[in-house]
């Protein structure tokens, strides 16, 4: 579609789209006759009831870019109330948990809202993505079902087999019903009035990592959710009439669910979805959707941008017109300026304006968003002296040429109603430009981890400050992230808890508890590799190689990443005075043995 047509304001037209012509469906329009309300609602279902009065909604595309199904907010509202009554017939207590395997389908969204109408707490479970990962995936599902004490579990036909396998092996099975959405449709509608939700009720749980044994479900109330949605819609994106979103982000990810399902709904915007798998295989389809439907808002992890840059050929750029894209949100992992620059260099030929970049900071424990820069300024960054940063933990702007520097992206200011503070190891607030742990306080912060007082107490201080686990500094009121503490490794946009990798290793008969240490190291190209160092008593080369192979395979199956395994003699791994392994020291030891130098940006650690 040429940009001239788009500028004339003609609504999106499906081109080369034999399938949708055949079924005769068209995507929901960008422009709504309903007056726009910018997320000023007290509950999620209230925002759906309002959006249902208009024409906008969700659209789902297949891997070739054909429109597969359309779910206008009006239809979503009607359908989810019917499903809510079917769920009500199961005789569940209010606030019972409902587990949903979240592939990118209308059924997931209908079920999610059905739960809210019925006063139940939904949560999204991931779809399996890794080669050979069946056993580990089923174990992950089991962990979430037990940790959430779920009473209902739903999976589409594609995934029901995995769910059934997980359910069969549950130790503490509190499930009253599990099955497919189609089976749920066969249940009778209960003759009940759906009670309104209240702001203090839990809206949903968000699981934060694919932990193998002890997954943690973040508890988000209606109040926290609505506060964050309002912050995203009004302050982060400054949503306006004519906005339209496109997304490939998984519905089980906080940025995918809160940012690109719930926020658009709260502002009555239409959204065009591509399944994550289809994006991963054909990333350009996402950009084609944006181009064709004149989308204005689309978010990605840096890794998604990298995939697009890597995979786009010159010939792909000809048909693309990305000039409508005004908010290119980037978040969910450390943002490197290089990634953004390469993307802009590649796609400026297709009309992409780098001022659209909106690097932001957030985490599921604070619903989604914590800070945004002003929109329309693009990614701004700060160059700081590398030596002072590592030696004194102080960010000093590089004045003269020739000094070694690290460049950090400006992630903006906290949303209204939120505060950010940087503290040192003794929990004292540090001056601006000093690097420390980032704490957040405000309306969007979670109530805690579900049914897990210990982890909650570790994350939230008595005075309400949430420890994000991220490291950074403040400069002129803006937040800069310099790294994560060593307990999380981020590879290709996936958050991997070091503890999970170590637990996998310890499941091997040759590996004893507390004799494995996992951490990330940076490669020359800026990517991260997982390293697993294991103390090993095996003498035979064959046995050692077999253990290495098995460990690599287990890590791959669980997390989808290759992993470097190093076997070392017993007592090599450094321990703290309390006998705990120190990942930081283990990593230092590994780097020394391997004779590797590390850039400071990704390796800065505190505590």
């Amino acid at each position: 579609m040429s940009s001239t047509i788009a500028k004339l304001g003609i609504p999106p037209v499906q081109k080369n789209d034999s399938q949708s012509l055949r079924i005769g469906i068209a995507p929901t329009p960008t422009h709504n006759l309903l007056a726009q309300r910018r997320a000023n609602f007290t509950t999620l279902v209230e925002s759906l009831e309002y959006a249902a009065q208009g024409e906008t909604g969700y659209n789902f595309y297949d891997s070739r870019g054909n429109l597969k199904s359309v779910l206008p907010y009006r239809v979503l509202c009607t359908n989810s109330k019917i499903i809510a009554k079917r769920l009500s017939g199961l005789g569940l207590a209010r606030n019972s948990r409902v587990a949903l395997i979240a592939d990118t389908t209308p059924a997931f969204i209908e079920l999610f809202f059905a739960c809210r109408f019925a006063g139940l707490i939904p949560f999204a479970m991931p779809v399996p993505v890794n080669l050979g990962s069946r056993a580990i995936y089923v174990q992950q599902l089991r962990g979430m079902l037990e940790s959430s004490r779920a009473n209902v579990a739903v999976a589409s036909l594609d995934f029901i087999e995995f769910l059934n396998e997980a359910v069969n092996g549950l130790v503490n099975n509190e499930l009253k019903w599990s099955g497919t959405p189609e089976q749920l449709d066969l249940l009778p509608e209960a003759d009940v009035a759906l009670l309104p939700n209240t702001p203090d009720e839990t809206a949903y749980l968000q699981f934060t990592s694919g932990s193998t044994r002890l997954p943690r479900g973040v508890v988000i109330t209606e109040k926290a959710l609505m506060a964050n949605l309002q912050g995203i819609v009004c302050n982060g994106l400054d949503v306006r009439f004519g906005d339209r979103c496109a997304s490939w982000l998984p519905f089980y990810h906080d940025m995918g669910l809160v940012g690109l399902v719930l926020a658009p709904l709260a502002a009555q915007l239409s959204v065009d979805y591509l399944a994550t798998r289809d994006f991963a295989v054909r990333p350009l389809q996402w950009l084609k959707l944006i181009s064709r439907n004149r989308c204005t808002i689309a978010f990605s992890q840096p890794f998604g941008l990298k995939l697009c840059t890597l995979r786009a050929r010159e010939s792909d750029l000809v048909d693309l017109d990305l000039s409508s894209w005004r908010a290119a949100g980037v978040g969910a992992e450390m943002i490197r300026l290089d990634t953004l620059k390469s993307f802009a260099a590649k796609f400026s030929a297709a009309g992409f304006d780098e001022r659209a970049f909106l690097p932001c900071y957030g985490l599921a424990e604070s619903t989604l968003a914590v800070s945004f820069p002003d929109i329309g300024l693009g990614a701004r960054s700060l160059r700081v002296d590398a030596k002072t940063l590592i030696e004194k933990k102080i960010a000093v702007r590089v004045q003269a040429d020739g000094r070694k520097y690290n460049e950090f992206v400006n992630c903006g200011r906290p949303l209204p109603g939120h505060e950010v503070r940087v503290v040192d190891e003794a929990d004292h607030e540090v001056p601006h430009m000093t690097v420390g742990s980032i704490l957040v306080r405000g309306e969007s912060v979670m109530s805690g981890y579900f049914n897990n007082a210990d982890e909650t107490a570790r994350a939230i201080r008595l005075d309400g400050w949430l420890d994000t686990g991220d490291i950074g500094f403040l400069f002129e009121g803006d937040l800069y992230i310099t790294g994560r503490r060593t307990d999380v490794i981020i590879v290709n946009g996936r958050n991997i808890r070091a503890q999970d990798v170590e637990e996998l290793a310890e499941q091997q008969p040759e590996v004893r508890a507390r004799e494995a240490s996992a951490f990330g190291v940076s490669n020359e190209d800026g990517s991260t590799s997982v390293v697993l160092v294991v103390e090993c008593r095996l003498a035979s080369a064959v046995d050692r190689q077999s253990l290495i192979n098995r460990l690599q395979q287990m890590v791959y199956m669980a997390f989808g990443v290759s992993c470097l395994v190093e076997l070392v003699p017993p007592h090599t791994l450094p321990r703290t005075s309390s006998g705990k392994l120190s990942r930081f020291a283990a990593r230092q030891g590994f780097l020394q043995r391997a004779n590797l130098e590390q850039p400071v940006a990704t390796t800065y650690t505190a505590g």
């Binding site: 993505v129 080669l131 594609d158």
Partner: protein
């Protein structure tokens, strides 16, 4: 392409995998994709795209969880190809 045999698929995969993973060793049907080839997610997705385009099929995500070797992948493609005809 409609008459493609299981052996042809396996052979093609072995060739493509050797190219994709830039490995110097030969790839056999029993080669383990993870431990031997260390295929990462980006390479895997590239390969899936090639397979889909070449055989005009769609490889569902949920089917890859049972794939460990080149042979497993070839069997899967053959099965999908058969059922899509």
């Amino acid at each position: 392409m409609s008459e493609v045999t299981q052996e042809q698929i396996t052979e093609l995969l072995c060739q493509r995998l050797a190219y994709f993973t830039e490995t110097r060793m030969e790839v056999f049907p029993e080669t383990n994709l993870i431990t031997h080839l260390a295929i990462d997610s980006v390479k895997l997705l590239n390969l899936v795209m090639e397979i889909e385009d070449q055989f005009d099929i769609s490889v569902p995500l949920n089917t890859l969880v049972d794939v460990l070797t080149v042979q497993d992948l070839a069997d899967l493609i053959y099965k999908i190809k058969l059922s899509s005809q």
